[in-house]
Structures are given as C-alpha cells and as structure tokens.
Symmetry: C2
C-alpha cells in the first residue's frame, strides 16, 4: 500500500481543492473531480482524508495555517498588529469570497460545520487565547476584565460587519484600525 | 379597485408570511401559498408589495419595527440598555432561527438582500446613529472618537459571534453584558 503523501504532493492536492471550490462551490465539488484534477484515485483521497468535509477543511487550513501561534512580540498591541498583518490583502479578498460561499454551505452541511470548527476555528481561538494569557501574565490586562471573554466576538464583528455593513473584504488597514479603535480600548490598553 | 388594506388586515398578512417562512423557508415560500393562507388574491399581493422580497422584508419589519427611534433616556448607557431590552428572549430565539435562514437566502437572492438592507438594516442604523449623535451633543463622547464608526460592527459581533462561537441565540442578559463590557468601554464611557 502507498504510504503517506509527500508534503509537496499534499500541497498540490490542497491547491486543487481550493481551485475547485472557487470554480464550482462546495456543493458542486465532488471527490471524482478532485481525483481527476489531481490525477489521483478516489481510494487515495478517501484513505487520506476520510470524507469531503474533512478534505475541504484541511485544504482551507493548509491555505491559512494557525499562524497566531508564531506571534510573540512582547506586547498585546504588538501581537494584535502582527496578527492583523498576517493576511495578504489580495489573498484576503479572494479568501473572503471563498469563505462567504463556505459559510453558506455550512448551513446545510453539519459535517462541514464540524470539520471547519475543529480544524479552522478552534486552532485560531487557541492561538488568540495564548496571546491574551501572555498579556495577563505580563500584567498588561487583568484576568477578570469583562471584555476578555468577548475578544472573539469583537473580531467576528470586524470581519462580518465589514462584509455585511460595508460590503467589502476586510484588509490590513481596516483590521489594524479596528483593533486600535475598538479591541484595545475595550481591553483598557 | 380596492384601496389600501386596513392595518389589521396588513398585520394578518405579515403574520402569515412569517409563519410560512418558519415552515418552508424563503426559497420554499411562494406568493401562491401566501394568497391561499391569507385568502387573498395574488393580484392584491403584487399590487400592494410588488414582489416576494419586498413582502418578506416588510413582514420582518412589521415583526421588528425600528423601535430604536423611541428610545431617549438621557444617557448613552441608558439608551443602549433600553435598546438591548427591546427584544423578548423567547421571541429572540425564534427570530434568530428565522434570520439565520434568511441570511442564508440573501446569499442567492440579491433582491432580498436589497429589500432587507433598505427596510431593516438602514432604519436600525439610522436609529443607532441618532442615539450616538445625542451622546455627542450632550458631551458624553467626542465626535471624533475612533470607535464611533465601528459601533455597528461591535453589535454585529455580538449577534454573529453569539451564534457562530457559542451556538446560542443572543438574549437580553448577554447583550446587556456585552454593551457594558465592550461597547461602552470602547467608547470611553
């Protein structure tokens, strides 16, 4: 039996999945199409990823690894600014369209919802919590600050509000301004 | 030709539209079904509302009028608390499921998006802006406060984050706590 795929081959497969998602959307994407596009067998795809929702969530995670873990600038403001600078503006615009389509698909596909929560949302929330815990340890913010439990809500507001109210993809300038105007003042920093 | 409907008859029609939305969703709702359920003619429905998206948006607005306009407690904190107390918790839970379905439908129906923006989102944003402007006039907050342009984003974060992160409908206790922990501190109040 074939062993694990090489990292290069795995990256190639994920790129093909993302391309297909952009072309035909989640509902239109089939394991057959992924197999054809990547010249692999459906058996390999299922052995490696188990299911379409997991393959899609892994492809998205590959595209946007939980990089928050690598951030540690020594101050909360510095960490937030570094986090908001992780995205590339052009890519954010592209990803934003992709994610809108997927949030739509999540509504009808509980398995996709579960896979995205486990592979995308939870790692990012863990990374964010580590950034906040270090700020508490440094004495920058108090552990019982009421706003602390709402930092993810504030950030969801930045992304969803930008899209919903302004009909624009969030870019680095907007996110940095939002952090300075909203998140840090709410945290008393 | 028949004149305008009586307010009672109009309310009856809107209630029927909301019941149908809850039963079959936006895509499943037809003008035929509304006509049958309300014992009216399709001609009346189209004459009165022009189209399905507008009928649906008007029914939602009837269900949740822009009550922010009626709030004026004399302080920004008082106005926000009164705004968060407008909803009835049971109804919020019910409405939240209804709105999730509609946000989903908006993705595929630009006309529904436009009608909801004009009839639901804009009146609420105008009401919110009046509350904020009075706080500026009273000297409670400065007109050039950076967080001022992001108040709607913060509130979108409360609703969307509650749903997306916590998988719960927002209730009055949550919204009041969020306003006290996030919105007012971000505004320096």
């Amino acid at each position: 039996m074939a062993g694990r795929l090489t990292p290069e081959r795995e990256a190639e497969l994920y790129e093909a999945v993302l391309d297909l998602l952009r072309e035909v959307g989640y509902d239109g994407l089939t394991m057959d199409a992924v197999a054809t596009r990547t010249r692999s067998s459906k058996a390999t795809l299922y052995r490696q990823w188990g299911s379409k929702p997991e393959l899609v969530a892994r492809a998205l995670r590959h595209n946007k690894p939980a990089q928050l873990d690598q951030i540690d600038t020594g101050s909360l403001r510095g960490d937030f600014h570094a986090a908001m600078a992780l995205g590339d503006d052009c890519k954010m615009e592209e990803d934003s369209a992709l994610m809108r389509g997927l949030m739509h698909a999540v509504h009808d596909n509980p398995d996709l919802h579960k896979a995205m929560r486990e592979l995308l949302v939870e790692p990012e929330m863990n990374g964010l919590n580590r950034i906040l815990r270090r700020a508490v340890d440094r004495g920058e913010i108090s552990a019982d600050l009421p706003a602390l439990k709402y930092v993810t809500h504030m950030l969801v507001g930045a992304f969803a509000g930008r899209q919903f109210i302004e009909d624009k993809a969030p870019d680095r300038a907007f996110l940095t301004d939002y952090v300075d105007a909203v998140v840090l003042p709410a945290l008393g920093v």
